[in-house]
Symmetry: C2
DNA sequence: CGTAACCTTGATTAAGATCAATTCTCGTGG
DNA sequence: CCACGAGAATTGATCTTAATCAAGGTTACG
């Protein structure tokens, strides 16, 4: 049932049963396979999304084909809400475009589309959602700030090390640590990881190799073991 | 009077006289000279700011001294609101830090400090402010998105051309166009502009020279004339 | 198996940072 | 009003990082 999904989405966590069901009435569920486009940044804005299953990348492409990934959206997270609130309260411009492209990275990626018009009414009538929306935006701003800082002030090696550390810290930690705990598993291709780190796959490949040669990590396919945590932190600094 | 300033700030534009005066009671006005630090990213968060006069840069510094400017804050705009809303509605963490450094770029820069605690109460009681806050965040997210796109997908020449175009478009346009209309005046040093464009002053200097040699712009001190608008747009593309 | 997508490795190139040396500009005090 | 000095800007020579180009190697999956 969709209500069970919506409940797990931060901005809707305060809604009661009736409100959730009302919301259900206006949403649309969509399914995509790996590589499918969810929207292009050229399309007129229709509404924002929630990832229900799978993984979605939000990205931009330059004229000559270089790609940069801004966000990776895991289940129960929202994306493309920004145009919803630009000039909120003022005249509503119907001509907004999506701020970036969105593509499914896994088969059977399921997303929920929430149309802008109806949702705007809901927000205006429910200040709790409004406040949660703000806090969601604040987190995203923090993330983008950090992203820019990484891209402009650190080289590829530092960024790569930083990514590994972040992934490691985000990992659910079992109570009894085993040695396998120091491993992370990539859930995206190295091509995509490179695009996320602001580089290309060749350079990322070389960077992994360098960190491996220095005895800091061990890479095998999608698995990365952290061999020397202190050194890793030092490199990422 | 401070109320006259606050009125001009987007998020407060809906407040009535009494509300404005109440707000005045909790704010603090501060003055800085060129080069003065308003806050460091290491300081515990106390509240957010409004620029009343002058110019403020929000920036990050790398370990080895490279600087990158995230925002330039003109009068009547807010900055450092993000920590205010992280985990809003949940337990309030008193230990937040400022997300970046802030420095006054002009003498007699005046800012208004709005303490977090009191302001949080105001937002919770006034859904209009809440909605304006969201729309402000949305605009900032759009800006950061664009900033990242520029930094990762375009070279310094394209970014420089893009900056000139943006400045030109933001300029107040008189009804009767004179030829001087195609000029913009930098209100920051070229050093700061370089840090904003994600490069260094030497490279920016060379880039200006190149664009000038190609007959696209004319640079003299803080003035930039657009000589060939079509070419400029083409370069920025 | 065979093919396509993915990844790695090597050689080369290019953009831009760094280092170093002047030159320019502007505010200050004599 | 001029001279001085500090900060800002320019210019040149060189170096470094990472992108590009090119060729194989690996893996996954029908």
């Amino acid at each position: 049932m969709i209500t069970n999904v919506l409940k797990k989405v931060h901005i809707f966590s305060g809604l009661n049963k009736e409100e959730l069901e009302k919301l259900c009435g206006i949403v649309k569920v969509k399914a995509y396979n790996k590589g499918d486009i969810i929207f292009f940044d050229t399309e007129p804005y229709f509404g924002f999304y929630i990832t229900e299953a799978g993984l979605v990348k939000i990205y931009k492409i330059s004229k000559d084909g270089r790609e940069h990934i801004l966000h990776l959206i895991a289940p129960y997270n929202t994306f493309a809400e920004v145009p919803l609130f630009e000039n909120f309260g003022e005249e509503y411009e119907d001509v907004y475009r999506y701020p970036a492209n969105a593509m499914a990275l896994e088969d059977e990626t399921r997303v929920i589309l929430i149309p802008a018009r109806q949702f705007r009414l809901l927000v205006e009538s429910d200040s709790k959602i409004c406040i949660k929306m703000i806090s969601g935006f604040a987190k995203r701003l923090r993330h983008l700030n950090h992203h820019i800082e990484e891209l402009t002030l650190k080289d590829v090696t530092k960024r790569t090390a930083g990514f590994i550390l972040t992934e490691y810290n985000n990992k659910k930690k079992p109570k009894n640590r085993k040695e396998s705990d120091s491993a992370i598993e990539l859930n995206i291709s190295k091509n995509d990881l490179a695009a996320y780190l602001g580089t290309i796959n060749e350079t990322l490949s070389r960077t992994f190799k360098k960190l491996q040669d220095e005895g800091i990590i061990e890479v095998e396919g999608k698995m990365i073991w952290i061999v020397d945590m202190d050194k890793l932190k030092e490199v990422a600094a």
